[in-house]
Point group: C2
Chain length 353, copies 2
Amino acid sequence: MSLAHGYAAQDAHSPLVPFAFERRSPGPNDIRVEILYSGICHSDLHQSRDDWGGALFPMVPGHEIVGRVAEVGADVKKFKVGDIAGIGCMVDSCRHCDNCKADLEQYCFEGATWTYNAKERGGERLTFGGYSDHIVVDERFAVKISPKLDLKAVAPLLCAGITTYSPLRHWQVGPGQKVGVIGLGGLGHMGVKFAKAMGAHVVMITTTPEKGADAKRLGADEVLVSRDADAMGAHAGSFDFLLNTIPVGHDVNPYAALLKRDATMVLVGALTELEPPLRGVNLMFGRKRISGSAIGGMAETQEMMDFCAEHGIVSDIETIAIQDVNQAYERMLKNDVRYRFVIDMATLERAPA
Amino acid sequence: MSLAHGYAAQDAHSPLVPFAFERRSPGPNDIRVEILYSGICHSDLHQSRDDWGGALFPMVPGHEIVGRVAEVGADVKKFKVGDIAGIGCMVDSCRHCDNCKADLEQYCFEGATWTYNAKERGGERLTFGGYSDHIVVDERFAVKISPKLDLKAVAPLLCAGITTYSPLRHWQVGPGQKVGVIGLGGLGHMGVKFAKAMGAHVVMITTTPEKGADAKRLGADEVLVSRDADAMGAHAGSFDFLLNTIPVGHDVNPYAALLKRDATMVLVGALTELEPPLRGVNLMFGRKRISGSAIGGMAETQEMMDFCAEHGIVSDIETIAIQDVNQAYERMLKNDVRYRFVIDMATLERAPA
């Protein structure tokens, strides 16, 4: 065991406060990572406030973790001390089901072990996330990161990045395709960058005309304002693929109308009820498809990280001190971030043990 | 012009009554078909009662038409007098859009011309359907039917048949796959027959345990009662494909749970709102897909008809006289039909002109 320091929610109604806790000692396949940067995901806020139910407290959020390897177990092959490592939403899975064998641990039949707000595999100890000074994790659930990248801006790739990269890759987005990214936030801004780097003609679809200029700076070829019925009509039936990053339940019918025959819209943000409801006829005429996608497997997360190194892709971020995390949550609720907060963990003061 | 006789709804609130009207004389690409049998589709009832709005009266329903070719235009290539022909839901389309060129006239960008409750292409004359003694149609929108088949039981293939055959083919259902057919009615009973003939392991999914024995007679290998939560749980994540024939909006979430990773559920019946709403998370974990499909193109309708001749597949029907059509509608509303009514058009008395 080693003593760790971080920030935790003690219950659903209080701000995050300094918190000391224990991490396991590295086993033979584990690495110990000194955390440099920890991205703030919208889901950190939802979970720490128990918006989705079932929250486990105390909770140390954070699943966009970049750090330096400080210790490696005897059987570790992928990392050596001093390497830069990334840890995302998962720290374990069953490893033997069909999905785990297919390198899709996020769809583990028995359920992946999430980086925080979960219990360690086969035990009762809580997992604690990246708002902390170090973490111990099986090397299978860490990826290698090129030290050439701006490491603080790499952190959000571990969740916002892979969540958008994976469906774009799976549905084979590429040159000659017209691809829409719906919603310009933490996920959407990464979707634009990736779709553009993959060679597609990228249309940013947003409710907010003011975001247009920024969307083009990020790489969008066009901006489509979804509240403009004429513009939506002009784009009807023209998209090869839609990446829908809207983080709440919403009316997907107008977006379905944008799809070509046999084309797919993938939901990556909206976990809850799609209201007003989807109308069957809007899928039938044109054999349109709606699907969803959750983060990505570890092999694909490594592939994404290598793609980012090759193409010089990172997130647009605003760095904060850990002491400002509660204020950052409030700003996120107002969409006042372009496009992701990242905590500089060097700002962490050690809490009393 | 030629005088035709049939049964029509004169408005949304009255029963169907005898009706005389004019058909166009066959043009060079047209065939004139003496109608032998006309299937009754659920949508006939909805349209004649204007349940979906926009109904055009007088309305002669019927888009599951089997008859004998009585006359052929000068340029007709596919048919000769005496052949058996089938006409389904469409009688025309733009013929130059991408979907028409891809033999998917049902998804015509400009809208296909429906067999009834529509206007003739480029004109103001109403189209009139199969509850009548003859029809004139471009040969492109008629299919050849093997005279070896039981012709009265062939009629429903033109709508219920192709509606289920097309998605099963498009999503490449075949041996080694576990395929669920949801809902045992006019569409569902054809779905079971086709999926079985294509070599799949077929599971009939129904709310009604009493339908189990009949489902097995039709070819189902298993029956899953959707109201049995334990049974649904036992089948979770196990289906390669789901053909959802439920004809009204419903909760698709329990069915999404049945899909394997990357597997698809296709809606062919539910045109309206899917309520309670679909939850995004139910697609995300497993990258599951929901799509829809409408009838099939003319080339595929011919392919289906040939498949039926090869495999001896027809619908399970109950033949009625045209004078009983209003009573048949009432029985349909009570699901009192196994599984499709077909009108024997020989029962038609000529109405006064």
